[in-house]
Amino acid sequence: MDNFINLTQLITPASLIPLFPLLGFFITALFGKQLKHFSGWFASAMILLSFGLALHLFLNLPANQSLNFNLFNWIKWGNINLAFGFLIDPLSLVMLLVVTGIGFLIHLYSIGYMHHDEGFSRFFSYLNLFIFFMLLLVMGNSYLIMFIGWEGVGLCSYLLIGFWFKNDSYNDAAKKAFIMNRVGDLGFLIGMFFMLFYLGGLDFETVNANAINYPAGSSLLVAITLLLFVGAMGKSAQIPLYTWLPDAMAGPTPVSALIHAATMVTAGIYMIARSNLIFALAPFTMEVVMWVGVITSIFAAIIGIKQTDIKKVLAYSTVSQLGLMFAALGIGAFESGMFHVVTHAFFKALLFLGAGSVIHAMGGEQDMRYMGGLGKYIRITWLTFLIGTLAISGIFPFAGFFSKDEILAASFGANKTVWILLSISSMMTVFYMFRLFFLTFSKSFRGTEEQKHHLHESPWTMTLPLIVLAIFSVGAGFLGMPAVMSSTHYFSQYLAPVFEGSKSLITEHHHADHGTELMLIGIALSAAAISIGLAWSFYVSKNQIPEDEPQGLSKWVANKFYIDELYNTIIVKPIMVISDILFVLVDKLVVDLIVMAAAWIVGFTGRTLRLVQTGNTGFYIFAMVIGMMVLMFIQLVY
């Protein structure tokens, strides 16, 4: 009884969480002109309030309990009722904290970063709208509410990538992101139809309750999970729908940090973790998820090695890390995947914000070939960026070490090939991240004098988030230490109730004993060390700078294996040609011609028959007489 009262008391704060950002959106959108730079503070305050409420829920939600409530009936017809409701459980709470927490820091950062932009208020209204949709995504108690957030964040992503709308290539990138996401969304949508039709509803409770009636591996569940995974591929930028994410770097850097690294792109992983039960019931899909993740991870890491745009490197790194998370999910290590989502959110946001700080200092320059030696000028950025780099490289004791190690250990238990591939991908990650770090911060400055003169550390609104994120990039890992170091894994313990159902279904890979675990850690760390050494020798000792026009294989890599061009040739161009053909040949010539032919036939008949009207009276009379005779004849015969 006590718990019951406690839970209902949490409904109001829970429903208020998304309302604050929505309010912020309306205020900053409607009164942006009047608020001027205050709108940034206002928007940040709204997110802080949401964060406070999320924290309140986190502290007060009783363990092993979840809060599931409906606000109103959204769509209700026949015997189907799709309600608008929220589910607060450990999984959504983790995401809530990440979204609002990192969201707030990035809002704060943006106040400094966007200070001189004329669209300052507009930027914050979009950001707030994004947080609103992201919160719907993680809080929804049904796939449909998740889908609202899912499409909504896609919209905000579109708006923010194309934030500087004067530049048409940015607009192209925005459009590309939206459309590619829509491809995934179609999969999600059809997946929802399957669930609605066969599993009797869209809320997680009903779906899970009915799904367990189907045998594991039944084609229905495989179809549903594959379709959901198509959605996840779009949103979380997996092969083959990943090309929009690197382009999405056209948006302002805080956007890349918030949307395209920390939160939105992890929605796909959240969704699969949320649907862990039905995924666990579909081993085939798990296999697909795993391989797509592994391949994406390696593929993106390879491309990342040759990029020269600081943000592009980070973008490919994000794709690669997302692949790693999917691989974890595919193995069945849901908590490890989620754990990596959280740590990745911290250090990738940190890296992007650090990159933003670099770009800010460089006055807009993003090409690493014109940087170098920045460590001396921007100390805080340098230090925090180093922490981020170490964290993503999985160096002990930074956050990335724990989460990555967990995934590698799980893959070692499940599939040795996968483990090898993921280790290679991690090695490459370490390499390109240190390449990025050395090229940017070490040695001497390679830019223009004017830029050199301009170099300065960012204001406190920008550095404070860097510092906070750096602290978390160091500390977050201790939430989930491997068994060899600590007896309690706080993170997976907290999430355990969410994955309870699927745990028994996943073939339990015997937990690696301490010796193996230590061996794996040793291998991972030494591999990372080798990579760092390689990067050091290339970019510091030999002082190499990526050439402008690479040759041979590296040309392919630098041009991202020409995948964009490939898509252009086999999908975009043909559709345009088909569109023209359909319009000019089919619509105008065939379909309309049939219509016009009907009109023409009438006209032609008229034109021809009128020739009978010769104007010669004699002929008329003659024709009349003949006509009458014919009629009489017919009358006689019949």
Binding site: G152, N171, D172, F178
Partner: protein
């Protein structure tokens, strides 16, 4: 008697407007359409409280042939009446800062159109329904013919004859029905109770189907539409696309499916196949259209294709979705054409190419244009989403693969809409000396009302469902 008042107000208004002149006409037209809207709101409350009884009007007109003047009301009719009377004030208001020659005749025709449309939606006798159906064609013909753009003579004639040919088929269908029904009546209640009509249902189906398919239009009966939308004055296009299209889809549910159930069942697969093929076909064509209004016309074909696909899926979900989407599409398409009109009015450039940079000078316009586009590409929480979701699910219940194919509309819709938006609104201005004042007050009122409607029905679609579900349940049983 309420039914008669619904018809009487616009008819009287139409006659009254003939005696007004100049600026008075548009003000009078606005006031009168608002009066009608207010009366519709009253009708809505009455319907909710007392049901259809206060709306029933039944008098015998002629004993032989047996014709009743029968007006009545049910949820679906009321929905369409609300749509009509809601859009009319917006359409009138949208022409406020446009130079219109002989405005008294223009607005008079418009209100006459409103009269006819209301009649179509509340007529419950086939004969009366047919009269109103044809009556609605006359004002729109004159509107397009007298106030249209280039090539209007040819285009309007094509439109007129094409739709008239469709109507002729429908007339034949009614004749068959009249002769085939033992009691010789065209009363809706009689026709639907009399499913054992001796007539050949295949013939009936095709006659009705083609008649409605031309009006809707379902591919391949659509070729009158893009040209007409382009040529007609924008207010005319709004009437055509916002409301008149819905006459066709409304009639599918009102007349075709309950009256010819066997025929529909037999030929369902062709009807639904054509509809779904039309969605993809029109969407793909829309991608590369260079003319803005023509692009919107093709997008409209794609949207109504989905509506008719949902209807022909013949299940509650599809039909319910189709009604929601009819309402949503009516609102959105009026907004879209209004935006196209604003652009054309200020730049005199009908093409998608050669524009751009509008976002810089008219941010308010760009924002509301975006909102309407979002409704049109079916973003959740906008009215378009609920409709498309239910329609696609309705089609899914009929056939999974078909729904995947139809679902391409959510991708292709985003492609052509965003491409258009980018070329027209974003980027740097291409036109030199572009003078593009931001929204005037009347434009603001129209676009904001449309924006509010888009979100209202996206968040509370149940208002529509509750209104129409009882009726649909009787149909789908």
């Amino acid at each position: 008697m309420l039914s008669l008042t619904l018809l009487f107000i616009p008819l009287a208004a139409s006659l009254l407007l003939l005696f007004s002149r100049g600026g008075l006409s548009r003000n009078l037209a606005l006031v009168l359409t608002l009066v009608q809207l207010g009366f519709t709101a009253y009708a809505y409350t009455v319907f909710n409280a007392e049901g259809a009884v206060p709306f029933d009007f039944l008098r015998n007109w002629s004993a032989k042939p047996f014709i009743n003047v029968h007006f009545s009301m049910d949820g679906m009719s009321l929905l369409m009446v609300i749509l009509t009377n809601l859009l009319l004030p917006l359409i009138v208001l949208s022409g406020y800062n446009r130079e219109i020659e002989r405005p008294h005749i223009f607005y008079s025709l418009m209100l006459f159109m409103q009269f006819a449309l209301n009649g179509v939606f509340i007529a419950f006798d086939g004969f009366i329904y047919y009269i109103f159906w044809e009556l609605a064609l006359i004002p729109i013909y004159f509107i397009s013919f007298n106030w249209g753009g280039q090539n209007r003579t040819q285009v309007t004639l094509k439109f007129f004859i094409y739709t008239l040919a469709g109507s002729l088929l429908m007339l034949f269908a009614f004749l068959f029905l009249y002769n085939g029904t033992p009691t010789h009546s065209l009363d809706w209640a009689v026709l639907i109770s009399n499913k054992a009509c001796a007539c050949n249902q295949t013939w009936l189906f095709w006659l009705f189907f083609i008649a409605f398919a031309i009006k809707i239009p379902i591919v391949p009966f659509h070729t009158w539409q893009p040209d007409t939308y382009k040529t007609a004055p924008t207010q005319g296009t709004m009437l055509l696309s916002g409301i008149m299209l819905k006459m066709g889809t409304y009639s599918l549910i009102r007349w075709l499916i309950p009256v010819v159930p066997e025929g529909v069942k037999e030929w369902q697969y062709i009807a639904i196949g054509l509809s779904v093929a039309g969605i993809v076909y029109a969407s793909i064509i829309a991608i590369m259209q260079s003319d803005l209004k023509r692009l919107l016309a093709y997008s409209s074909i794609a949207h109504v294709g989905l509506i008719s696909a949902g209807i022909f899926a013949m299940n509650l979900t599809g039909m319910q979705g189709s009604l929601i989407q009819m309402f949503a599409h009516g609102i959105n398409v009026v907004g879209l054409f209004f935006c196209a009109d604003i652009i054309f009015n200020r730049t005199q450039n009908p093409n998608v190419e050669g524009l751009g940079g509008i976002r810089l000078v008219a941010p308010k316009f760009a924002t509301w244009f975006m909102v309407i586009i979002l409704g049109s590409v079916a973003l959740p929480l906008t009215n378009g989403f609920v409709g498309e979701f239910m329609l696609l699910f309705g089609v899914y219940e009929y056939n999974t693969w078909l729904s995947v194919f139809a679902g391409l509309t959510i991708i292709l819709g985003a492609v052509y809409m965003l491409r258009m938006y980018q070329k027209v609104v974003l980027g740097e201005p291409i036109m030199e000396n572009m003078v593009f004042p931001d929204l005037y007050w009347n434009e603001k009122v129209v676009l904001i009302s449309i924006g509010i409607l888009i979100f209202f029905f996206g968040i509370f679609p149940n208002t529509i469902i509750e209104l129409t579900e009882p009726f649909l349940k009787t149909i789908t049983k």
